[in-house]
């Protein structure tokens, strides 16, 4: 009986600790979702389904992360928001390089994309067939983040397509093409 603590009196506000989730859970979920969708459907259908899931998540995250921010004006400001605050919240770092051709194409480069960190990269200078195979595997893992980025951008008013290119694992470029 001595070990029992008295219940806090109703007048005292007990602050609940902030609940956190281990990051490995998210990594495992991403890996497993890719496997699941590719088992259930073949090739492009699985990719489209993953992208659709990412799209919805991107919309919801855009709502949450733009919540107390000042109004985002034009397309460039929205893209910069995605590169800085959104990327920071999602992938714990900002986009390393942003290039544009000023005609509606933006290239976001991330040298160390967090969701590709667990894929083993073939040693540089090894057999091109191996590198190509690794690239194909990486592409299947990139449908989900592409969907997230596209969902966030579309929800903020920028209608676009997003393609990913894993040039050198784990670095990756995302090409955003604004739809007229």
């Amino acid at each position: 009986m001595a070990g029992l603590q008295p219940a806090p009196s109703p007048g005292v506000a007990v602050k609940k600790p902030v609940r956190r989730c281990a990051e490995v859970c998210l990594e495992l979920l991403c890996v497993e979702s890719v496997r699941l969708f590719h088992d259930k459907q073949s090739g492009p259908a699985a990719a489209a389904a993953l992208e659709a899931v990412g799209f919805r998540v991107g919309q919801q995250l855009a709502e949450r992360y733009t919540r107390d921010k000042p109004r985002l004006g034009d397309t460039l400001e929205i893209i910069k928001f995605v590169c800085k605050d959104f990327w920071q919240a999602l992938f714990k770092k900002q986009v390393d390089n942003l290039k544009t051709n000023h005609r509606g194409v933006y290239v976001l480069q991330d040298n160390g994309f967090r969701w590709l960190q667990r894929l083993s990269a073939p040693a540089p200078g090894s057999d091109p067939a191996r590198e190509e195979a690794a690239r194909q595997v990486a592409l299947s893992y990139l449908h989900l983040p592409c969907g997230v980025v596209r969902g966030a951008l579309c929800h903020l008013g920028v209608s676009c397509t997003v393609e990913a290119d894993p040039k050198q694992l784990p670095s990756c470029t995302f090409t955003v093409r604004i739809l007229a």
Binding site: Q59, A62, E63, R64, T66, R67, P70, H155, L156
Partner: protein, 152 residues
């Protein structure tokens, strides 16, 4: 200050939620929809005006326009969702209080849309949303109003 009506409108000007804090007749319901619809034009005007350099790019749009029974306040989020608040005319209204209500409503909207079963673009049909909205509005009740109201 009393809150007569709360409305959420989506990016394509589609109504997501409209709740009045008064039990009502059919006429009332039409009238509130009409007032909120007119408010959308006022929102666009305000946004156009604020495009000038040096103007504060804030979500809170302030008083949009007064009608004979209500004062209409607006709030525009970054995802182009508009929150419209109809306050009745009694008494002085402090901007900070209205901003506080808007921020709480925005927080409620963000939490509701984070539900994986929520579909964007469709009207919000969640009892939890209703009860939490009532709690936010209960801080500024209309004199003599019930908390039921009607919802469309």
């Amino acid at each position: 200050m009393g809150i007569a009506c709360v409305a959420f409108i989506g990016p394509q000007n589609n109504p997501l939620y409209l709740r009045s804090m008064d039990p009502a007749t059919d006429d009332q319901y039409m009238k509130l929809h009409y007032v909120v619809h007119c408010a959308l034009d006022a929102v666009e005007e305000k946004v156009m005006l604020k495009r000038g350099p040096g103007d504060s790019q804030d979500a809170y749009l302030g008083l949009l326009y007064p009608t004979e029974d209500y004062r209409v306040y607006g709030f525009l989020t970054n995802t182009h969702v508009k929150i419209i608040l109809l306050l009745d005319d009694e008494g002085p209204i402090k901007d900070e209080a209205v901003v506080r209500v808007f921020r709480r409503l925005h927080g409620l909207y963000v939490d509701t849309t984070s539900n994986p079963f929520h579909k964007f673009g469709l009207p919000i049909a969640s009892t939890r949303f209703d009860t939490q909205l009532e709690q936010i509005v209960a801080v500024y009740p209309r004199p003599g109003a019930s908390l039921g109201g009607f919802m469309t």
